[in-house]
Amino acid sequence: MVKQAKPNLSVNIGNLVLHNPVMVASGTFGYAEEFKELMDLKKLGAIVTKTITIKPRPGNLPPRTCETPAGMLNSIGLENPGIGRFIKEKLPFLKKLGIPVIVSIAAEDNPEEFSVLVRQLDKINTVSAIELNISCPNLQKDRLISQDAKETFALVGAIRKLTKKCLITKLSPNVTSVPEIALAAQEAGSDAIALINTLTGMSIDVHKRAPKIGSWVGGLSGPAIRPVAVRMVWEVYNKINIPIIGMGGIMDIESALEFFIAGATAVGVGTANFINPRASLEIISGLEKYCHKNKINSIKKLTGLLLRC
């Protein structure tokens, strides 16, 4: 009997080649070092860092998290050491891992800050790709860039001129039409779309009659949001032709597969990292088994392979 070849799990995101399509989502993995004793980091497809801003940010008023049914709310508020200390203190560890490092960045006040950050990151070899976080719900803004197609187009277009590195645009689910925003990002030159960021939510302690988190409203993540995320990935897949990195409540192989079948080229594991640090590695081996069992020789063929019910 001829032994079936190992399925090929590698995927391309712009000019970036991933050994496998499983990455960890921004904000749920720190700068990877926090996980070094709990898993073999080198097996990950890529690491997306916690979002970096130009200046250090202390983050939002605690309490910053609370549990909700099959999910959690967070309002961390992009606490980070700023790009200077990130490069000096966090990047060397990431470099040693030898796997693709995707740096997530955000602007605090002015979209121009994205350009400043990209100019610096563009010069660093360890940085394999840049994720534009234009969808953080915890910055107390009336409106996010990713809630407006024109602003998204303008920002991605301006950044595209500054770097040849792979550019990923992370979108918010808190909009009327995600495909419209995704199209704008694609037309402006984004190499890929990451979706979804958290859904805005609120939870109340009825005994204290007070919100459970300090900023009142936060971002909902975890399995509770998965059906929304899968639906959005599928809608966007039908409208654009750049790769989608799907995320939102992926806990295990089955939930990851939903995203591939809906149209994702790669997936991001988020909240699951807190509960089962090895979730992403279990998904990688699960993908191999699934492809093998279903005689799919390359994971690329699974993207959008959705049949009628």
Partner: protein, 263 residues
């Protein structure tokens, strides 16, 4: 500090009084590395609700065993209490920084160390008392009423002097444990020269302990409790305000110096 994720076998699970449980786990790596004041983060079920792990402090360590002491207060601890001997628990640990006591020596015998516990706050302090038992620490335990006074026998068995305070006066001093602390510091000469005050309990109690310690020029170490998403420093959810900015209770704590916190 090293931490591990493992399936720990439940060696015993005993309800010592209504809703208060002892649980012994076989966790050799955790037991070997555990410091007093550290905790483990437990996944009580594979289901999605409750979703997050629950941080529970390490109560005792012996050989390859760790013991936790917990109160059933909600959905997760209810599930935990239903686990039977022989089942396995997915745990991560030991986590956090732990109490600092390296400067306490046998020679510092005359300079007392005081442990202040409120309610379930006794849980990590028993482990600490065991580590510094040669110093014969003074232990103040407070609760609303007699029935909620926990672990006093365990402390006594370790050679500690125990004084109890209850809000309703049903046992020992009538009043808050922090009022008892004030009284002990003013009346007891040896206690007033205490070298450290270690405390664990509700937030208002800890705040009062910090103020009293400061007023008496005694260093304090307080073990805090916060809602945590990860428990190992990644999510930045459990932060507390300190003089040097926000710090993570799970990783930079749970033990903080009373002077450091800004509340």
């Amino acid at each position: 500090m090293k931490n591990f994720q493992l399936k720990a076998k439940i060696l015993s699970q005993t309800e010592i009084k209504d809703n208060y449980w002892y649980c012994e786990l076989s966790a050799p790596q955790v037991a070997k590395n555990a410091l007093s004041g550290q905790f483990i983060n437990i996944r009580v079920s594979d289901n999605l609700d409750p979703l997050l792990r629950r941080p529970i402090s390490i109560h005792r360590v012996s050989g390859a065993k760790i013991k936790i002491f917990y109160e059933v207060v909600g959905k997760a601890t209810e599930i935990l209490a239903q686990k039977k001997k022989g089942e396995y628990l997915d745990i991560i640990g030991p986590l956090g920084n732990g109490f600092e006591y390296s400067r306490i020596t046998k020679k510092s015998y005359k300079r007392k160390n005081i442990l202040v516990a409120g309610g379930m706050g006794v849980a990590p302090l028993v482990f600490l008392a065991e580590k510094i038992k040669f110093n014969k620490p003074l232990v103040l335990i407070g609760a609303r009423e007699k029935e909620q006074i926990l672990c006093s026998q365990e402390f006594k068995a370790l050679g500690c002097k125990v004084i109890i305070a209850t809000d309703d006066g049903s046992l020992g001093f009538k009043g808050k444990v922090t009022e008892l602390l004030k009284e002990v510091l003013s009346l007891n000469q040896q206690a007033s020269k205490a070298e450290n005050i270690y405390a664990c309990g509700p937030q208002p109690m800890l705040k009062a302990v910090a103020q009293i310690s400061c007023a008496n020029n005694i260093a304090s170490q307080l073990s805090l409790e916060r809602h945590m998403a990860c428990g190992f420093g990644a999510c930045l959810g459990c932060v507390v305000a300190t003089k040097s900015g926000y710090k993570r209770v799970c990783k930079d704590g749970p033990v903080f110096s009373g002077k450091e916190l800004t509340w």
